[in-house]
Symmetry: C2
Subunit: 328 residues, 2 copies
C-alpha cells in the first residue's frame, strides 16, 4: 500500500494489529515499486497473504502458477479489484476480498444528502447565493423529506443502510428489486412495490441503489423517469449506466423533477457534459463511499477477514466470479 | 390571508375545518385590502378571533381600544408577529399565537442537510462540477457524520428535533445552553458541556440553534470559532446575529473549518456580501423552516390552538411579552 493509504485506512492502532495478524510480514510502499520490481518482490517473498491498496501494482496472470505459488489470499482494502487481480487468478481459486458492504453506510449517507439537497434545491441556491447575488422571494418553493414517500431501487447493503437514516423522516419507504424473498422485506419493515413502474409512479423520491448488470443498463429511461410525480426527486448513488442520461437531463431541464447524482456513465464526468450547468441537478464527483475519515471501516472489515482467514474460518463477502464480473 | 397562503397552509380539508371551528366567519383575501379598507373591515366585523398570514395588514395600536374591541385572539399562522401585532396589544392582554415549534423539525432537517453538505463540501463541488469542469482527484478529502462528535448550541425545539435525525449517525451528541435543568438533558439523552468553550473545542461539528437575546449578539466570535478542531464544521440555522460574521468568514477562507449557513445578520444577504463566493461556505437563503410542503404543520398547530381557545382551554405556546421581545 502507499504511505497515504496506510495513514488513512490503518489509523490509530490498526497497522500494528495488521502486522500482528499476518506476522511475519513485510510492509512495502506501493509507490516505490515498478511493475518489474513488484514481480521480483513477489518472487522473492512468495507470500501466502497480500494486503493491498489502490497503489499496489497489478498481479500478473501467472502469479500463482509461476511467480508466487504460495499466494492464497489477497485482502484488497478498497473496492475495485479488477485492476489488481486478473479473473484467471480467481478461477484458479485465489481468495480475494475487498471493502464490500463495510462502506455502504457512507454511500447511504450520500444518498440522504442528495435527497435533502434536491428538496431544498441546493445546486440552484448554491449558484444563486454564490454567483448571482440571489435571495429567495415570495414564490420560492422548498420541500421536506418529512412524511414523503420514498422508493429505493435495489435492496442490497446500501438500501439497507439507508433505512435507519430515512426512518426519522418517514415510514413510507418502499423498494423494488428481483429475487429477494418476501420475508427479507418484512424483516426490514419495507414494502416491495409490484413493479418498477409502481416504484417510480408511487413515490416522491426515488433513490437508485441497484447493482449494475448487463440487463439493467439504462433500465431507468424516459418512461420510468416520466412516471415520477411532478416536483419529485431522483437520486443515483449506484452506477451511472443504470440510467439513460439523455432522458434524465431532458426531464431535469424541464424542471419536472429535481435530480441528485454522485455517479455517471462516464467517469470522470466529461468537462463538456450537459449535466454541468443544469441547476436542477446536484452534482457530486463520485464521493459516495467511503469518505476519507471512514476508510477505517474498510480496514476493520479487512482485519476481521484476515483474522478469520488465519483461523481457517470462511471470510465474509469473498469476491466470487459472479461478483467479479459485476464489479466496475 | 392571501389566496396563496390559504392554498399552501390550509391544504386538503384544513380550510373547511377552520371555517367550522370559528363559524360564523368571513374569509378575506388579504391582498385585496388596503390599510384603510382593512381598518374599516375590522370596525365593521369587530371579530373575536383573527386568523392571519404574512399578507395580513398590520393591526393598529388602538385595535382593541377603538377599532375592534371584541378581538381576543390573533392566530397568526406564520412566525414573525411583530409586523402584524404592536407590542401594546399584547400588553393589553391580546392572545397571540404563531407557528412556534410546529416548524422546528424542518429547521432541524435543514441543519442536518447543512452538516452533511459541509462534510462533503457541497458548495465547493457544486461550483467545481457545474462551472469549472471539475472532478475529484487522489487527494480529495471528504468526511462523514458517522461517529462524529456533534455539539448543539441551544436546547430549544430545533435542538430537540435534531436529536432523532442525528442519532442514526452518532451517539456523541452534546449541547450547551443556560438555565435548563440537568434532568432535561438526561431525559433527552444528551450531555451538557461545561461551558461554551468546551462545546466548540470538543466537537467536530457545532450547530448553532440558540435563541437570539441582546446578550448573545456576536457571542460566537473569533475565539470560539478558533476552538473548533481543524477540519471541523460550523452550521447556523438560528440567527445570523449570534455570530461575528467577519470572524467566521476569515476562518472559512483559511479553510480551517467548513461552514453551512441558512441565516445572516442582514437578510436578504447583501448582493456584495463577502460570504458570496467563499466555497468553504454552503449558503442557503433562510429556507430552514417550514418548507412549502410543511406549512400544513403550522396550520395544524393553529387549528389545534383554535380548538383549545374555543373550548376555553389554554392555547399552546402563546406569544408572551418575553417571546415577543426576543422575536425577529
Amino acid at each position: 500500500m502507499s504511505q497515504l493509504e496506510i495513514e488513512t485506512f490503518l489509523v490509530e492502532d490498526r497497522l500494528e494489529a495488521l502486522k500482528e495478524l499476518i506476522a511475519p510480514c513485510r510492509v512495502v510502499d506501493a509507490e516505490s515499486c515498478t511493475e518489474e520490481s513488484w514481480v521480483e518482490l513477489l518472487k522473492e517473498t512468495n507470500p501466502r497473504i497480500l494486503v493491498a491498496g489502490w497503489k499496489t501494482k497489478p498481479l500478473p496472470a501467472n502469479t500463482r502458477t509461476e511467480i508466487a505459488p504460495a499466494l492464497d489470499y489477497v485482502c484488497y482494502m478498497p473496492g475495485s479489484v479488477r485492476k489488481l487481480v486478473p479473473r484467471e487468478l480467481i478461477e484458479q481459486g485465489l481468495l480475494v476480498t475487498n471493502w464490500s458492504s463495510s462502506i455502504s453506510r457512507t454511500v447511504a449517507e450520500c444518498a440522504l444528502l442528495l435527497s435533502l439537497a434536491c428538496m431544498r434545491r441546493v445546486a440552484y441556491w448554491s449558484h444563486q447565493m454564490h454567483d448571482q447575488g440571489g435571495w429567495k422571494n415570495g414564490t420560492t418553493v422548498t420541500q421536506s423529506l418529512f412524511d414523503r414517500r420514498i422508493g429505493i431501487h435495489g435492496f442490497g447493503a446500501v438500501a439497507k443502510a439507508l433505512l435507519p437514516l430515512l426512518r426519522p423522516f418517514t415510514d413510507k419507504i418502499s423498494t423494488y428489486t428481483e429475487g429477494v424473498p418476501e420475508e427479507v422485506f418484512e424483516a426490514y419493515g419495507v414494502r416491495q412495490e409490484k413493479d418498477l413502474e409502481k416504484l417510480f409512479s408511487e413515490n416522491d423520491v426515488v433513490i437508485e441503489a441497484e447493482a449494475l448488470t448487463p440487463e439493467r443498463e439504462k433500465i431507468v429511461g424516459e418512461k420510468l423517469l416520466g412516471l415520477i410525480p411532478k416536483g419529485g426527486s431522483f437520486v443515483n448513488v449506484a452506477r451511472g449506466a443504470l440510467v439513460d442520461e439523455e432522458a434524465l437531463l431532458a426531464i431535469a431541464e424541464r424542471g419536472d423533477i429535481q435530480v441528485g447524482l454522485d455517479v455517471y456513465t462516464i467517469e470522470p464526468l466529461p468537462e463538456d457534459h450537459a449535466f454541468r450547468g443544469c441547476r436542477n441537478i446536484v452534482l457530486l464527483p463520485h464521493l459516495g463511499g467511503p469518505s476519507t475519515d471512514r476508510r477505517r471501516d474498510a480496514a476493520d472489515h479487512s482485519l476481521e477477514n484476515l483474522r478469520l482467514f488465519q483461523n481457517n474460518q470462511p471470510v465474509t463477502e469473498p469476491i466470487t466470479l459472479d461478483v467479479y464480473d459485476r464489479s466496475t
